[in-house]
């Protein structure tokens, strides 16, 4: 089953791009491909002008790309700090560190800093993530991506399961991320949200890009039209 | 909100834990063994003893316990009964160790391995308990006051005689044995082999059933496949005999191939009545148990002790079954 057929996508530094499309358009697949989870059958990825291969999540990370997945990809039994540092644990110094001993206090300290700076409050930072609300979990996932990303953050439907107040938090987070100089690629099918934060909008339909729009130049109807195929822009 | 659910969660934990611990306490205190002994032995001058079987659910040892309990009652001794789930040294050891901790006046034990059980039994002996070995024995039996067992070699020979008569004095015969290293069954197999060769039978060998009826059954089926002209089988213990009969039944050779089994448990007696097994060599486990208690009491009272006692056996067939009812093994006392 082909999710993508010659899909195109681009994002520039320091901008928020919304990637929209109807269900089955291929948005998640495209993002997972760029995040290194899937491998494309064909095509080219250019990163800062260079052609790159992103064969694994590690390779995406090395380029400075981080992702907040739709399912959050958090380990429910571990605490927020452990999740933040998953795969990137801080080890103690010296010989003990070489044996693999973790520096838990350091990780907790840095995690507390990251959470506070992004406005996420946690009652008990040693409790497993499973005991936290959806919004807090989202916060942890976003913190993780934002803390480690140096270039691009992909966010796949970050507000799909959240309430009004929590959604507000996430949108504020996206803005503060952009202010830090990173790019954000936001997948969403929620038009009002898109129009609140996005600089540009790229539309995917049936696995291909059908439109590249500047948010200030278009209306929601235009975008929906492009999604459903009523309006075609890209050749 | 989360803190209350945590508190409630703790309450459940506490309740369940307490219930668990109390249940164990009740079980331990309130249990009344049907074999007459609670923990701690009788008061006054009564002696305390424990009989440790080779395996728990085996009617041979249950019958031994019945005989021992009767004798114990006569002599004013309180007797406990314990045993492992499987006839195995790794499983019998923790039980011997626990019994040793009680420091009973005497321990009657059927060691599951001639070598491996030496250390734990020695430990019990060093702690002051008199040791009587029943049924099986140890390579180094110097730590025991007395050893009581059937003359297993003689029993094996008797089985060879009986089988020879059943199959008309000639033909292929095979042995289903238990495990190597068990003094009793090894002696039976040796006795049978000698007796069979003397009687002019064609002895084709033996295999080990690991004391599992299912294994014995599959061994018999394989041997039959290789030797369709097999005439007779000798099974050296209860589980092996059970399994051998099942194997023959499944191969459709019941009655054709004659089985002589060792031990007369209820199932084997049934098999005998139904003609699935043609003869049973029964030991006298009740007698072994009673003698064990007697000798232990003698040792404790500084009276003369018989170091080795060999008990006899009875050859039971369908014909003489009625006369030998008291030689049959019991499933409970």
């Amino acid at each position: 089953m082909r999710a993508l057929r010659g899909a195109n996508f681009s994002v520039l530094p320091g901008e928020v791009v919304a990637l929209v499309g109807d269900n089955g358009a291929g948005k998640s697949t495209l993002v997972k491909t760029l995040a290194g989870v899937h491998r494309p059958d064909s095509g080219e990825i250019l990163f800062e002008g260079r052609s790159v291969q992103i064969g694994s999540p590690l390779e995406a990370r090395a380029l400075g790309i981080e992702t907040v997945y739709q399912d959050l990809a958090l380990a429910a039994d571990l605490d927020p700090a452990a999740n933040l540092f998953m795969g990137r644990e801080v080890l103690r110094g010296g010989l003990i560190g070489k044996l693999g001993f973790l520096n838990n206090s350091e990780m907790h300290r840095r995690a507390a800093e990251a959470f506070t700076s992004l406005g996420i409050g946690l009652q008990d930072s040693t409790a497993p993530v499973a005991t936290m609300s959806g919004g807090q979990r989202q916060g942890v996932a976003v913190s993780r991506a934002v803390t480690w990303a140096s270039k691009v953050v992909f966010m796949d439907e970050p507000t799909a399961a959240l309430g009004v107040v929590q959604t507000r938090h996430v949108l504020d987070l996206i803005r503060s991320v952009r202010e830090q100089g990173l790019s954000v690629v936001l997948i969403s099918h929620n038009m009002p949200e898109v129009f609140e934060v996005a600089d540009r909008i790229e539309v995917l339909r049936l696995g291909e890009r059908v439109a590249q729009l500047k948010r200030q130049d278009v209306t929601m109807e235009d975008v929906v039209g492009a999604m459903t195929g009523a309006i075609k822009q890209e050749a | 909100m989360r803190s209350t659910s945590r508190r409630g969660h703790w309450r459940v934990l506490l309740a369940v834990s307490l219930t668990l611990v109390l249940a164990v306490a009740v079980a331990a205190c309130g249990d009344d063994d049907d074999d007459g002994g609670g923990g701690g032995g009788g008061g006054g001058g009564g002696k305390s003893m424990t009989l440790i079987a080779g395996v728990k659910g085996d009617e041979f040892y249950i019958t031994m316990n019945c005989g021992a309990q009767e004798e114990a009652k006569k002599l004013g001794v309180s007797l406990d009964f314990q045993g492992p789930n499987e006839f195995d040294a790794a499983q019998q050891t923790p039980i011997v160790n626990a019994v040793a901790a009680k420091k009973p006046d005497a321990i009657l034990v059927a060691p599951t391995d001639t070598k491996a059980m030496y250390a734990p039994i020695k430990q019990a002996a060093d702690a002051g308990s008199k040791i009587v070995l029943v049924d099986t024995t140890l390579e180094d039996s110097s730590l025991a006051a007395s050893q009581i067992a059937s003359d297993n070699e003689g029993g094996g020979r008797s089985a060879a005689e009986t089988l020879s008569k059943l199959i008309g004095g000639q033909g292929k015969v095979f042995v289903v044995n238990v495990k190597p290293g068990i003094s009793t069954t090894d002696a039976r197999a040796e006795g049978f082999e000698a007796g069979a060769k003397e009687a002019g039978l064609d002895y084709i060998g033996q295999e080990y059933s690991q004391d599992e009826p299912a294994k014995a059954a599959s061994i018999v089926k394989s041997i039959l496949a290789k030797n369709p002209d097999l005439k007779g089988i000798f099974a050296t213990n209860l589980f092996s005999a059970e399994g051998a009969a099942s194997g023959l039944r499944e191969a459709g050779k019941l009655g054709e191939v004659k089985i002589v089994g060792f031990d007369a448990g209820p199932k084997q007696v049934e098999d005998l009545k139904q003609g699935l097994v043609q003869a049973l060599i029964a030991q006298r486990p009740a007698q072994i148990g009673a003698l064990g208690v007697q000798q232990a009491v003698n040792a404790l009272d500084d009276k003369p002790v018989k170091e080795k006692i060999g008990t006899g056996f009875v050859s039971i067939t369908k014909d003489n079954l009625d006369q030998n009812q008291d030689a049959l093994y019991k499933a409970s006392c």
């Binding site: 992702t67 990809a73 001993f101 995690a111 506070t116 930072s125 609300s133 | 945590r6 249990d31 790794a90």
Partner: protein
């Protein structure tokens, strides 16, 4: 716009709470309750039969009887924390013992050199089976239950083939005399020291190293671990290899203790090890558990059996009791999970 206050709205600018001190984390840990149950059982039996139950020799015996299972349970803890399972541990124990005995007899002699060769053989055999398990589970993607059931059969069958179904009963006497029944300071058996050393070392690995952390991560959410860049396949191979190697060590210890390979006596070791790990608070669904809990989980059935025999309880009650404790432990785990996921 909603006017109701939710916990989230109340918190946005609050600082993250600092981490509770270590003793508080210990008390609320999952293994603490099981430890209390163990203490409770010990108290009950001590009260009922003080003279017999409470003695150095009895404690020594219980610990020695539990030592081999403890080593198996440590390996099993790692496996179950990854949400896996290993049914082959008893069979690998037996196979390793057989290889070890054969090697030592082939080399001959009654000195430490021979014994070390035997140890190497046992560990190597265990490592081989464990690596095979890990490879089939991680790379070939066959479910752990099936793979380890298969290696159970192969290892046990292999042991029977090599020995012809007859236990190896010739073991260098020095091995039995020193490690098997020897004691340090004439008090603590070597077997107990080995078992507890293994428990401490690997307990620390699981709790405080990256290897342990990755084990929890994979058990909690394997896909998330993959996406976080953890090499899940390689880690799983290592975890099963560890379980196998520890089974090999257990086989060597068993050989030292009994002087024979006891082929027929380890058929339920796998279930006993799993029960011990689960009783100790490790979740079969992965992501949760400690080696300390498994230590308690090994000693609860051991103390139960010892206490029941001493107090004269019918042997069959022991099995009933252990089964009940096991179900209780799993039920508690379910309760805890449900209360966590209420949000």
């Amino acid at each position: 716009m909603s006017t109701a206050t939710t916990p989230d709205e109340a918190l946005p600018d609050e600082e993250v709470q600092p981490r509770p001190p270590w003793w508080q984390r210990f008390v609320t840990g999952s293994s603490t309750w099981i430890g209390l149950i163990l203490v409770g059982l010990i108290l009950v039996f001590s009260t009922l039969e003080y003279d017999s139950f409470v003695s150095a020799s009895n404690a020594r015996n219980v610990a020695t009887d539990a030592a081999v299972l403890l080593v198996l349970a440590v390996g099993m803890t790692f496996v179950i924390v990854t949400a896996g399972i290993d049914l082959s541990v008893g069979a690998v124990l037996v196979f390793s013992g057989v290889i070890s005995a054969r090697l030592m007899n082939a080399v001959g002699g009654n000195d430490w050199g021979t014994i070390l060769i035997g140890l190497a053989g046992a560990l190597g055999a265990g490592l081989a089976w464990g690596t095979l398990n890990g490879f089939l589970i991680a790379k070939a993607k066959i479910p752990a239950l099936i793979v380890t059931l298969g290696t159970l059969g192969m290892a046990l069958g292999g042991a029977l083939l090599i020995t012809g179904g007859v236990d190896e009963r010739e073991v260098p006497f020095k091995l039995i005399d020193t490690i098997g029944i020897g004691r340090v300071f004439d008090q603590i058996p070597y077997l107990v020291i080995i078992a507890f050393t293994v428990a401490i070392v690997f307990g620390v690995v699981l709790a405080a190293t990256r290897f342990g952390r990755n084990t929890y991560a994979i058990g909690s959410n394997e896909e998330a671990a993959r996406r976080a860049g953890i090499n899940v396949d390689r880690h799983l191979v290592k975890v099963y290899a560890l379980a196998g190697t520890l089974s090999g060590l257990a086989g060597f210890m068993n050989l030292a203790r009994f002087g024979t390979t006891t082929i027929g006596g380890h058929n339920t070791d796998n279930l006993q090890a799993i029960a011990a790990v689960v009783i100790g608070g490790t979740s079969l669904f992965g992501g949760v558990g400690t080696v300390l809990g498994s230590v308690f989980g090994v000693f609860i059935p051991a103390v139960l059996q010892n206490g029941f025999v001493i107090t004269g309880v019918q042997p069959f009650w022991q099995q009933v009791a252990v089964g009940a404790v096991l179900i209780g432990a799993v039920y508690l785990d379910q309760l805890r999970r449900r209360s966590q996921h209420q949000r």
